[in-house]
Symmetry: C2
């Protein structure tokens, strides 16, 4: 058990392990070995053991890991035993698609409110969630107990929106605008940049043409 800084690569893998354990639990498995887990995806068993070792000794030598026990441990470590309330800023196509995305509920996140600057949208309801005026963000966020913000506005407004979010005291932000944002150390900002992923595919296609077989 190391209590140094845990890398994000490690915690991302914990999510994958947990998902797999949930499946195993549903299938009725009682125990699972790191080797067995590793084969399910494209991973090395030592890595799994090391990742888990960061948080304690959960395994039993000669046996493996108890599925239900490890599942609960990881759920707790990832904070998925707590409820979170999400505010989405930008009630456009992406914002509304996310609003009733089942993945949120599955992981104990609940979309509590949408925010937009468009007068036509303010006051309307999408998937049972009300759209508020973005200028009231701090007030509503506080009243609704929002602790996670999602940025789904056009890139040119993203930095300003982020600053508004930070000013309201929220510490966890997910950004979908394709632009790198500057944030304080104490904030957790996760940017999902679709453009980069797309261009990565484009790069691959451009290169594979050069010496590709077909």
């Amino acid at each position: 058990m190391k209590s140094e800084k845990i890398s994000e690569l490690t915690t991302n893998r914990l999510s994958i392990y947990l998902r797999c354990l949930n499946e195993l639990a549903a299938e009725g498995s009682k125990t699972v070995s790191s080797d067995n887990l590793a084969k399910r995806f494209h991973l090395n068993s030592a890595q799994i053991r090391k990742d888990l070792a960061c948080f304690g000794e959960f395994g039993v030598r000669g046996v493996g890991y108890y599925v239900e026990d490890l599942r609960q441990q990881l759920t707790k470590i990832l904070g998925l035993d707590h409820h979170h309330r999400v505010g989405i800023i930008g009630a456009g196509r992406l914002g509304t698609a996310l609003t009733d995305y089942y993945g949120f509920r599955q992981t104990n996140f609940e979309v509590a409110a949408l925010f937009d600057a468009d007068r036509e949208k303010i006051g309307t309801v999408v998937s049972d969630v009300k759209i508020y005026d973005v200028r009231d963000f701090a007030k509503i966020a506080d009243r609704q107990g929002i602790d996670v913000a999602v940025i789904a506005v056009p890139a040119e407004y993203a930095q300003r929106v982020l600053e508004m979010i930070v000013a309201s005291g929220i510490k966890a932000v997910m950004n979908f605008a394709p632009t790198p944002l500057l944030a304080d150390e104490e904030i957790k900002l996760k940017t999902i940049d679709l453009t980069i992923s797309l261009e990565s595919l484009s790069y691959f296609l451009a290169g594979s043409g050069k010496n590709g077989k077909e």
Copy 2:
């Protein structure tokens, strides 16, 4: 100039550099130094020079890089001078949100067709794009010249859909289903897993509570 394998981290950064160069070009800058570029985001100037050096010597000592020249070089390296046709499998909330996402057109990608298994949806049109029966995928993909596929179906169908895509000869796939997929070496598969990012925020919030200031 190294012609070894280029890491994905490097190509991802190329996307970021290109985006910045596009802005600089729009502002009318003629040249830019690696130091100057580095300051715009959170990067080291040596890294930028090294990334670029993988593909050639684009800079001029004492001057920096010519914005327009480098912009064109990167556009070509990333394959963004070619047009790509995208097929989206799963015409649900995410699939339709993506359909008229401007980011696609901006990067020379065009959504050519949607595919679904739902009889009610097949035959209808979303943002000028027709929804086809997923069983006709290979035929339509071929006829429409689709070279990039996007998986936007529920996780439990994703692997089967991927196999169908691969069987049709398409080499570049973007997956939004929150599940790790198994694919051949020769395919470029990029998974955007929102759940992992969400859980990463959850982990942060769980940990910051332990010794947080407020």
